[in-house]
């Protein structure tokens, strides 16, 4: 039983924005796979809901004239897995989508909800970090574009102001064309589990040289993070097994996992270092670069 005070179904995006402004205590519900859990646990601030579930305006995956890939915030993970555009250009996002929950969850959980929920373990987040995704946020009479790395303010906190809705996720051609990526989710279970560590690698290869290298982690800190120092140190280096070892040593300095009853810091660090190698290797394989 849910202690629901108010539930209003928005008819379109603008209606949803208007409703959010009219009901300052209300919160958006898309797939509800985070919201309803919190409501069930009696968490404050979840009993008034503006429902954007199923708004066609927010559910799309397309490529514009400039070759930007645009993903609507209301796109569910099953859409992403089935999308030809994603399969062709950003298979790592398929990896991430495929790793979420189970089939029932993937059929209703949205990528927008995943990001806006603000948790470090969100499976789409680390991939989008490594893809330099840009988020489009809309309110009455205003639109903002925010790089995803600036969007996360702290655990469960994202840069959304009252009356703002995330509408689109943009991935620029520079960040995906000629790039090869891999998302490695490490969890206790292969389904229905939250990542112990998530590792996303996106790279470009030129003549056996690592021309571009982007690596991001979930659960390696309070919010998803990029390992910028590591990226800098290994870019333009020749691809060797030693380089993989270097990466795995370097990332340790870019992350800050913590001990909780779910896993110790030492354990997480061990996985972080190991995943950097494995995800990089898989991305290199996709780039046709054997080792």
């Amino acid at each position: 039983m849910f202690d629901l005070k108010k539930h209003i179904k928005a008819t379109c995006l603008d209606d949803a924005i208007a409703l959010l402004i009219e009901n300052p205590n209300a919160r958006l519900i898309a797939g509800g796979t985070d919201v309803l859990i919190k409501l069930r646990h009696g968490k404050k601030g979840y009993s008034e809901l503006i429902d954007i579930n199923g708004l066609e305006e927010l559910r799309f995956i397309k490529q514009d004239k400039q070759n930007n890939i645009l993903i609507g915030s209301g796109t569910v993970f099953s859409d992403i897995i089935q999308s030809d555009i994603i399969k062709k250009h950003i298979p790592m996002l398929s990896d991430a989508a495929q790793s979420v929950g189970g089939p029932q969850i993937r059929n209703v959980a949205t990528i927008g909800g995943n990001i806006c929920n603000g948790v470090t373990s969100a499976d789409s987040a680390s991939s989008l970090f490594s893809l330099n995704a840009v988020l489009v946020v809309k309110t009455q009479g205003a639109i903002r574009e925010i790089p995803i790395s600036d969007f996360y303010l702290g655990p469960g906190k994202v840069d959304l102001k009252k009356g703002e809705i995330l509408t689109t996720i943009i991935i620029r051609p520079d960040d995906y064309m000629g790039s090869f990526g891999y998302y490695y989710k490490y969890a206790m279970r292969n389904a229905m589990d939250i990542a112990t560590i998530g590792c996303a690698v996106c790279l470009k290869v030129k003549h056996h040289i690592l021309a571009d290298f982007r690596i991001a982690y979930g659960v390696a800190g309070p919010v998803p993070i990029r390992c910028l120092k590591t990226e800098k140190s290994v870019t333009n280096k020749k691809i060797t097994l030693k380089l993989l070892d270097d990466i795995s040593r370097f990332v340790a300095h870019d992350v800050s996992p913590r001990t909780s009853w779910r896993a110790t810091k030492e354990f997480r660090m061990n996985i972080i270092c190991e995943l950097s190698k494995r995800a990089t290797k898989k991305a290199l394989n996709r780039a046709g670069e054997g080792l």
């Binding site: 039983m1 206790m188 292969n190």
Partner: protein, 769 residues
């Protein structure tokens, strides 16, 4: 011949179409809901409680605290009554408690119009505690000055010792080598699909009706009458469809509380429907054990002596108490009957959630230690693990020295041979020598078990069956044996069909149970039902057959002995002539104005035997050392459970058990902060019950012996499949990595610690991972 065929389950269609009615489906429109107010500390006493605000909340009907409940302490374990006063279950529980013994202990209860109001009311209750240091480790619990969790108990619920075979000291002297090990098992949860749920109402001024998801309707009836001090005949238990129990419903949990509440509230219906979180925290779980094992062996591979000292932690209340470790400890005498054995065990209270019965009742813990120790012994003398077991295990005709009974059927050797062949043991042993270095390694493991078919002679084993002939020549069967999802109704129908020579479809077993009308039986536990009910069914069906043929004789002026039933027809045994069909006979027996009547048979039968069952697990695994993960490539369980009554159902039972065993081996544990007694993971996100994609395809096979003490040659199968996957997997990890890990589960966290200690975490190599 219905026995041995994979007929469809009786309830298959009802279940897959969602028509089967479970307790929650039998909702009463004006039903009140009750929710517990639970302690937030693990050890202490409530010094003050204020429920006024909660009582005054709109929609709240009543709030009761420990001050309002009877002072009568009661036992909850789902055991039959024992005539021996020395064998009584520990009476240590009250309906609500001022003394706090675990985090989640029940202090008060709110009754409201709905769950939301009840939850709000719970937040309005205020308590103050006097706190004591939680006792969670055996060393702390057993300290001389440790606080007594239950006054007068010294924190010990039970203790016993036994020995069989040669004098243990002399036996160890014969050993060439002695191997020792300390083993630890985890607290795990049953995770039955349907949480605990019960409701009660009064259908008259003085009778309480309790509808409950229980494995033991008749036992619960008695236990409620004891807890509330009410005459037994004023309590009626109804058991609808049950969504699994695995032992957690072989205990009285919610029933006395809903009965108490309806009594207090003028007979209005009151329901308690536990959430998953509460169910995992506040019902029962598997006792964690600490086990020291010493094994003496000769160089030729004979185990000569074994000594075990085991501690079982029952948590805050006794529940099944010392019975668990006693039962678990007793299976060695049928598994390794030639080994001189000494066993000492204690069960302790602790400030952690309450342990009770769980699938295989102590054996998964004890046999885990036994089979790890056996593996260590085989390796110590460099003998093949399967050869070593074949040299020492039980065979048909062996004497079980503990029970004093001969083992009349035993196919364990054949089980080991089958399993070994399936897994391709010999060639893989050679092949996997290549995979003992580097980051990803491979290994093989084996473990075997013995288990019982019921509880005799520790408890009474009684089964009741009633069969009635319907007007159309089909039969209805009522049994006290309790269907909880395991398929017992189906095999009962098969047995009846077999003996009455009717098609399976002509036999209907009444699913729902009602203690007002269902024959007496103690319920679903101890893998007892199909075995214990078999002789009762055989007798009742044979008796009804006699009556049917007698009536046919009356109708046709023939001798009873000249007639038989064949495929729902009365035939002449000499000519095979079709004399009449069952319907004609039934109509006559019901409606002929002078002869016959409703043909029925009712039998209550006590079983005074207990057939041991046997089996083994073989497993082939891969260990990814840097990622601290185990991948099971192949697993098979091979069972000797006597005659297999229904191969598909039996296979399902094995698969479910192996699945559960793998979960306990690889992932599952209730995590408790030993300082505060707080349970961290009482939910299915953080308690890592495996999903389908985590585990491999499960294989199974049977070695069909024929058990002479059973009505249809069958022996137990319900619990045993869960026992050996954990030790087999542990032994395979040892084979793969050389690291001996003597605690469960083998989760990534624990593998990380062990591999680090073992110095293999940084294993380099170029295996493609």
């Amino acid at each position: 011949m219905a026995v041995g065929k994979s007929v469809n389950r009786m309830d298959a269609v009802a279940k897959v179409t969602g028509r089967a009615e479970y307790t929650q489906d039998l909702y009463k429109p004006d039903m009140l809901v009750a929710r517990y107010f639970r302690s937030t500390i693990a050890h202490g006493k409530v010094t003050l409680i204020n429920v006024e605000k909660a009582k005054n909340l709109k929609g709240v009907e009543a709030v009761f605290t420990y001050e309002d409940v009877p002072e009568n302490k009661f036992a909850t374990a789902g055991h039959p009554f024992s005539l021996d006063p020395g064998h009584k279950d520990v009476e240590d529980r009250l309906l609500l408690s001022q003394d706090i013994r675990f985090m989640g202990d029940e202090i008060a209860i709110v009754v409201a119009h709905d769950e939301i109001i009840a939850n709000k009311a719970l937040k309005l209750i205020h308590v103050s505690y006097k706190e004591y240091k939680p006792l969670t480790f055996p060393e702390d619990i057993l300290k001389k000055d440790a606080r007594q969790i239950h006054k007068g108990s010294s924190n010990i619920v039970g203790e016993h010792e036994y020995a069989f075979g040669d004098d243990i000291k002399e036996a160890f002297k014969k050993a060439d080598v002695v191997v020792q090990g300390k083993f630890k098992t985890a607290m795990v949860q049953h995770c039955h699909l349907e949480n605990h749920i019960s409701y009660a109402y009064m259908d008259d001024l003085d009778r309480i009706v309790i509808v409950s998801s229980t494995q033991i309707p008749h036992i619960v009836r008695r236990l409620v009458s004891e807890a509330l001090n009410m005459p037994l005949n004023r309590i009626r238990i109804l058991k609808p469809f049950v969504g699994g129990g695995f032992g957690n419903k072989q205990d009285m949990v919610l029933e006395p509380m809903v009965a108490f509440l309806t009594l207090k509230l003028d007979g209005r219906p009151v329901q308690i429907n536990l959430s998953r979180e509460e169910c995992m925290l506040g019902t029962r779980n598997r006792h964690p054990f600490f086990i020291d094992v010493k094994t003496g062996i000769k160089k030729d591979g004979t185990i000569v002596a074994r000594q075990m000292d085991a501690i079982s932690i029952t948590g805050a209340y006794a529940s099944h108490g010392h019975a668990i470790i006693s039962a678990g400890g007793s299976k060695q005498s049928s598994l390794y009957p030639h080994v001189a054995t000494q066993f000492h065990a204690r069960t302790l209270y602790a400030n952690i959630p309450v342990a009770g019965a769980m699938r295989a009742y102590g054996s998964p813990q004890i046999l885990y230690a036994v089979e790890c120790a056996t593996e260590d012994a085989a390796r110590k003398i460099g003998m093949d693990s399967v050869e070593f077991r074949l040299k020492n295990i039980a065979r048909q005709g062996d004497m079980n020295l503990l029970s004093g009974k001969r083992i009349l059927s035993c196919g364990l050797t054949e089980c080991l041979v089958k399993g070994k062949k399936f897994i391709n043991w010999d060639s893989k042993v050679k092949e996997y020598k290549k995979y003992k270095t580097g980051p990803v390694r491979r290994g093989l493991g084996v473990a075997c078990f013995s288990y019982a078919s019921g509880t005799y002679p520790v408890c009474v084993e009684v089964a009741g069956v009633r069969i009635v002939l319907n007007q159309d020549g089909t039969v209805h069967v009522m049994v006290g044996a309790t269907e909880i999802g395991q398929g017992s109704d189906t095999v009962v129908a098969q047995m009846v069909a077999q003996t009455l020579c009717l098609p399976y479809e002509h036999v209907m077993v009444v699913q729902a149970q009602d203690t007002d009308v269902s024959p007496f039986d103690t319920g679903a536990y101890a893998s007892r039902q199909a075995y214990v009910v078999s002789n009762a069914v055989f007798k009742a069906a044979s008796d009804l057959k006699d009556k049917i043929l007698g009536h046919a004789g009356l109708m046709t002026q023939r001798q009873r002995k000249d007639l038989d039933i064949h495929n729902a027809k009365i035939i002449d045994v000499y000519t095979n002539e079709n004399v009449m069909d069952m319907k004609t006979l039934a109509v006559d027996s019901f409606y002929h104005k002078e002869r016959g009547g409703q043909l029925t048979s009712e039998i209550s039968h006590k079983t005074t035997t207990n057939a041991p069952v046997f089996g083994c697990t073989f497993v082939d695994i891969e260990v990814d050392i840097p990622l601290c993960k185990i991948k099971i490539n192949q697993i098979i369980n091979v069972h000797d459970s006597g005659v297999i009554l229904n191969p598909v159902q039996a296979g399902g039972q094995v698969h479910g058990g192996v699945f559960m065993g793998m979960g306990a081996a690889l992932l599952e544990e209730m995590m408790i902060d030993t300082k505060t007694g707080r349970v961290y993971n009482n939910n299915l996100l953080d308690y890592k019950f495996p999903t389908f994609v985590d585990l491999p395809q499960i294989h199974h096979d049977f070695v069909e012996t024929k058990e002479p003490t059973s009505g249809y040659g069958n022996k137990s199968l319900g619990e045993p499949p869960v026992i050996t996957p954990p030790p087999a997997i542990r032994n395979a990890v040892l084979d793969a990595t050389g690291v001996c890990i003597n605690a469960l589960p083998l989760s990534p966290h624990h593998l990380f610690t062990s591999f680090k200690k073992g110095g293999i975490l940084d294993s380099k190599g170029d295996a493609d991972v």
